[in-house]
Symmetry: C2
Amino acid sequence: MNRKISIGIAGLGNIGQGVARIIESNRDKILKKTGIELDIRSVCIKDMQKKRTLPTDAYLMTDDYNRLVDDPQIDIVVELIGGVDAARDLIQKALKAGKHVVTANKAVMAKHGEEFFRLAEINKVKINYEAAVAGSIPVIRSFDVSFISDRIISIIGIINGTTNFILTRMSREGLDYKDALKQAQKLGFAEADPSLDVGGDDAAQKLAVLSRIAFNTDVSLDDIYYEGITGIRPVDISYACEMGYEIKLLAIARQEKGRLEMRVHPALIPKSHILASIRDEINAVLVTGENIGEQLFYGKGAGQLPTASTVVADIIDVARRGEMFYEYDRYEIQSIDDLKTEYYLRFDVDEMPGILMQITTVLTKHNISVMSLIQKQTDSHVLPVIITVHKTDEKNMQDAFKEISSFDFVRSSNLMRVL
Amino acid sequence: MNRKISIGIAGLGNIGQGVARIIESNRDKILKKTGIELDIRSVCIKDMQKKRTLPTDAYLMTDDYNRLVDDPQIDIVVELIGGVDAARDLIQKALKAGKHVVTANKAVMAKHGEEFFRLAEINKVKINYEAAVAGSIPVIRSFDVSFISDRIISIIGIINGTTNFILTRMSREGLDYKDALKQAQKLGFAEADPSLDVGGDDAAQKLAVLSRIAFNTDVSLDDIYYEGITGIRPVDISYACEMGYEIKLLAIARQEKGRLEMRVHPALIPKSHILASIRDEINAVLVTGENIGEQLFYGKGAGQLPTASTVVADIIDVARRGEMFYEYDRYEIQSIDDLKTEYYLRFDVDEMPGILMQITTVLTKHNISVMSLIQKQTDSHVLPVIITVHKTDEKNMQDAFKEISSFDFVRSSNLMRVL
């Protein structure tokens, strides 16, 4: 039996316009496939004066999102205004008013997701947010439905398209960080202010959202250790390449025996690893579950149509089955200090005798065992010393790294983890 | 609010036992996450005398599946008996009795899927079959939910683990087909009678199931052109490798302007293509949609726990939202003769003068333009001539191939398509 579902959209930027266009041009197709007739009833915009090209002029237009919340005819509120505070206020009010919510807003989901889930459960509605992480890749829904009876062991994601694009350009074309960033900005893969992307904040927010549903636990942004890619230089990439690695910004979450480890940082990935082949602005998420084994999802992480298409799928999904149940599991959050992994170190040193001895002495003192050490002649008086070391504790490694970095002969340095 | 859902399982082989074990050991977790209490009420087995290790002895046991259909307390029938005729009978009866159905049976879905969809719609129930294609990879559900508002352009899948394992061994270890098959059988990746896998039937059935939901149209198995991998020799793999290709058994479906092309055959894939890196028994499906762009899914295509875990997810999904709507789109089915692609040809020829002239004369007569031609000296008097040609029509290519193959100097030959 066919049902009509009325939608209120808050925010009519790039994504909002895409959502309206997809709904209008696919209404019949969606009705045929689902028995649901989607009706955009009302749209909330910031500036009523601004001219827009809309697929129809039948929408009620307002600049006050409370009108969507107060309209008893609206079943689903689509939050596309972005940011945290206003978005949170709107989502809270909509859920309390018994309306389903669909959002593409990773920042508000990372910060207030748990609160929304509780409100949704109490009010017998649902909040869908697939587009908040990795654009059109159906990873949230897979955790929510397909992998629901499995125990997830780990998530390893390349979930920030900007940094993946920059690192790919640095690796492929030998560009330095600044030029690669400029290229990304020119092509629309990086914002004018790229700090949230290149600093790792964006990936950390997405990892919080992913971890919450994958491990069915509450996650605070403060629980996630993160680093960005601004310290990576072409020399790191070329030495990594020589040693058989690609460098990617990874978001990693892994549970073991009630402990949850979450971290975002650049990592060296063996070239034979499937994640090493994820290039340009593409996103990928590698999920490992007890029953399902390894699963990779790969696709466009952003863009108007992939994201808008995902928002519309969320709308249809919530219209089909709109109730939320949840009760969290508890994990102890593992500190980054307790991480045990392999490391890559670069020290740019003045050319003088005895340097390698001083460096290796510090490593030996910390019981850190060297896997490989490369020191090559260059034209300048500053030489890069590249070291990879066997598994050791993060805390121990950081102590040794700081000690070596503080030598007078060290001009600059970099530490990265190996996947 | 919590709800209890009662399940009847027909068939208690490897998958059925896995389903029972996952449900029993995750009951509380599933309840917490979904508000649904799963209760296995009844199990239908073939031989009542056979001893089984079940997680509990609380199940009603029967050897007549009609008992599941007739039991008014059962909400969901899980069909795991396999084969076509009995499975079809059970599924039909269960749907008519107003019960949801979950199945992992690709053969019955490929052949009778449309009939089941209509029965489900009429009886306001749902049939879920994610495990029928590519094991635990959530590709059916993605078409059903995540990509529902998009128009799918193409599917390219490596969806038969047996053939992918065999081709990987042939490529990696230089094994010939028979030895690779033996290895696959020893490791449990191939059946004692492997004909359905290596002949392409299995992949064709899965492609029928995938195409039906991806393109929202009815698909008959007869519409699908298919070939297997038994004609591939190590020499094909090594020349393909030399020219920069891997050989995989691909299942391809593509729509353009109301025409639907569906085919299963070994194909040469450029090594830089993501599908070239899918190894061993792993499955992968590359989906291209108008809005979402390219999406890859990758994971285990078979095995007890991945498959059982997917069946349980299907059970939970159907319990959460159990109605089916559908109305098909219509496509004209494109004949394989109308395919336009690049080809790889191998002719094993007697060593004598003028052979290349005779071969290329036939190609020229058919307006087929050569991309590369390799003829190498070997120890024997039979030399392989390896040719790749630019895009041409299948019909035209087959005519030329037959003409060349019929020359007296041609001992054996092979034709493969390039992706």
